[in-house]
């Protein structure tokens, strides 16, 4: 039998171990954030937001280079992906929540979770086979489709839980005043769940915006802005995560610091999306 003193000492030791493990987990995160900001801030200048990258010699000769084509490409591809993903994801979420007795629902739920857990790189391979191969060229469209594959399962799951959180009495009230079922869903349930829907969409958007793996062999990357706006859809397009990867593994030190700057932009964007999502979740309650 252990004495009370031994037990109390053990209690104290375990408590300090728990504190220690929390510090051990959070310290690398802080170090990463500090390093990204310190290393990237110097390259984050006016040229970064206004110039194209061009060839490596452009940087070595000291001519201005930047990532304006990357930022434009990222915005176009991410929003195109969102545009493709929202109808499918929300449709599936509506099916799970508003048609709870549908025979396919258990299958849908398992398939959706499976799709969500699949490595993003496999979604890139799928988009490569479905879009790049028939088109014969890497394209922004393929990149958007690959990112949509990342977004869809997240939107479906968050839509389901957002709609489920609306009490059934609201649906019954709508049906009782003679609204058809589809108007009940679209005009009462979805507006009531709007915070949840927006939050889920934001999370999906932020998650996809940070993914580089699905873009490497779909939108491929491009050192210049496409000549024509259609080039955004039909030709190779640059995106931030994929450009960050290329810059980081390149042999040029100027490109390395540009990579750190790209990391700041990406990080700020993603954190902004998640913070907004968190804020909206708190609004709901």
């Amino acid at each position: 039998m252990k004495t009370l003193l031994q037990r109390n000492i053990r209690d104290r030791i375990m408590e300090s171990l728990l504190v220690l493990s929390t510090i051990v987990v959070l310290l690398p995160l802080i170090i990463i954030l500090v390093h990204v900001v310190l290393n990237g801030i110097s390259a984050l200048n006016w040229d970064f937001f206004t110039q194209e990258l061009g060839s490596p010699s452009r940087a070595m000769q000291g001519r201005p280079t930047g990532l304006v084509h990357t930022i434009i490409g990222t915005v176009v591809i991410d929003f195109l992906a969102l545009f493709l993903a929202v109808p499918i994801g929300m449709g599936a979420g509506i099916m799970l929540s508003e048609f709870p007795d549908h025979k396919l629902n258990p299958t849908l739920r398992i398939m959706n979770d499976t799709l969500n857990g699949m490595p993003a790189i496999l979604k890139g391979l799928l988009a490569f086979v479905l879009i790049v191969k028939p088109m014969g060229t890497f394209s922004g469209l393929a990149g958007a489709v690959a990112l949509a594959f990342v977004m869809i399962p997240i939107i479906a799951r968050t839509t389901e839980s957002a709609l489920m959180s609306i009490p059934w009495s609201i649906r019954e009230a709508g049906l009782a005043i003679g609204l058809p079922r589809w108007r009940v869903v679209l005009s009462t349930v979805m507006p009531a769940a709007r915070f949840g829907l927006v939050t889920g969409t934001l999370i999906a958007f932020a998650r996809a915006a940070g993914e580089a793996a699905p873009l490497l062999f779909t939108s491929f990357g491009n050192n210049y802005l496409p000549n024509h706006w259609l080039g955004m859809l039909l030709g190779p397009v640059d995106t931030l995560p994929q450009r960050l990867y290329s810059l980081a593994i390149s042999p040029y030190s100027h490109w390395h610091s540009m990579g750190w700057a790209a990391a700041i932009v990406l990080l700020v964007f993603v954190i902004f999306c998640f913070a907004t999502a968190r804020y909206l979740t708190r609004q709901k309650h």
């Binding site: 037990r7 109390n8 053990r10 408590e15 728990l18 493990s21 929390t22 987990v25 959070l26 990463i32 390093h35 990204v36 290393n39 499918i88 449709g91 509506i94 099916m95 508003e98 549908h102 396919l104 398939m111 979770d113 799709l115 857990g117 699949m118 490595p119 993003a120 790189i121 496999l122 391979l125 799928l126 086979v129 594959f149 869809i152 609201i170 005043i177 003679g178 609204l179 058809p180 079922r181 589809w182 108007r183 005009s187 009462t188 915006a209 940070g210 580089a212 793996a213 490497l216 062999f217 491929f220 995560p241 960050l244 990867y245 980081a248 990391a263 990406l266 993603v270 954190i271 998640f274």
Partner: protein, 337 residues
């Protein structure tokens, strides 16, 4: 924000309009039919997408799988896209399993520690801050962690950890050298460390949720028997929450298996066994990232797709196991989306 907006049954002008002018039977019947058909078709497209992924990966990899046989492909140790055109995925399978399991082992106890600390010890405000920071780890894009690993972590680990150990082994235990491998900084050890950080949020989120769902009476009962705080956790809380903890660990394993960019940037990319602790290696996602854009031979391309198919199968098994556990222990929420 007015009360009206929060109560849609009140706020919907359409609803009030409809009250005055009831819709025709056709409008109701047709509208509901169309709505149901559209929604079910959108839902089914997700099922089609998941099934399509399996079919496409298998179909594209079939040339390689036919040439070497599925078992031959998975157990083959030679990956030579240049001369012999022989493809065996075992080195990548091995690399994926070793890095993921090692990352899970490293991160498991700290991750559970964070969950226990935030759920049981920390005051509410501190717990909220830690929660947000843990979620932030999951939010940081993989490439950002990758660039930090390339320029900060790998050189630091080489100079301060790998080289001292290596030189010590050189003088004291030369037999260890082949196991330790070339301490250049980019290799299995660095990739595993980064991986173990990246999967912490997934273990922590589910574990915390499971710990929070343990009934208060359970704690009070053991408190009343004179247990110290740690004994309460150890004997009353953790056994009750073990299902959620296990599910979180399996889910983390799934994330580790699929983690691509940070690993591809740090693992050093070596396609032949044997791998060593500090030396370069490769995983299934990393080899796809590194070789897919440069693959010209049809068989090489097909082999990379077959690697993708193998990855799909493994991720599927791990995900279904996690889904089974979460359902069995009926854990709700607590997920990192």
């Amino acid at each position: 924000m007015t009360l009206d907006n929060n109560n849609p049954a009140n706020g919907s002008k359409e609803a009030q309009e409809l009250l005055r002018r009831p819709p025709s039977a056709l409008y109701r019947w047709l509208g509901d039919r169309i709505f149901a058909v559209v929604v079910v078709m959108l839902g089914m497209s997700i099922i089609a997408l998941a099934a399509g992924m399996a079919i496409v990966l298998y179909g594209e990899g079939s040339a390689a799988l036919r040439q070497f046989g599925f078992l031959g492909f998975v157990t083959g140790t030679t990956w030579d896209p240049a001369v012999q055109l022989v493809f065996g995925a075992f080195p990548f399978l091995f690399g994926t399993v070793v890095t993921s399991v090692a990352a899970l082992l490293i991160s498991f106890f700290p991750a559970i520690g964070v969950a226990i600390f935030t759920a049981e010890y920390a005051p509410r405000w501190l717990s909220a801050i830690i929660d947000n920071l843990i979620q932030l780890i999951a939010a940081v894009p993989s490439v950002v962690i990758g660039i930090w690993g390339i320029f900060v972590l790998a050189p630091w680990m080489r100079d301060n950890v790998y080289l001292p150990i290596f030189t010590w082994a050189e003088t004291s235990y030369p037999a260890l050298l082949p196991i330790l491998g070339n301490p250049m900084g980019y290799g299995l050890a660095t990739a595993t460390i980064v991986l173990s950080l990246m999967i912490v949020p997934f273990t922590t989120a589910l574990a915390k949720d499971a710990i929070k769902s343990v009934p208060v009476a359970q704690r009070e009962a053991s408190r009343a028997l004179g247990a110290t705080k740690w004994e309460v956790i150890r004997m009353a809380v953790l056994p009750y929450a073990r299902g959620g903890i296990l599910a979180g660990a399996i889910l983390s394993l799934g994330r580790a298996i699929g983690e691509t960019m940070a690993v591809a940037m740090l693992i050093g990319n070596k396609n032949t066994l044997p791998f060593s602790i500090f030396g370069a290696g490769a995983t299934m996602p990393s080899v796809i990232v590194n070789e897919f854009r440069e693959a010209v031979e049809t068989l090489h391309l097909s082999s990379l797709m077959a690697v993708g198919f193998t990855l799909f199968i493994i991720a599927l098994i791990v995900n279904l196991a996690a889904a089974y556990l979460t359902r069995k222990f009926s854990i709700k929420g607590g997920q990192v989306v």
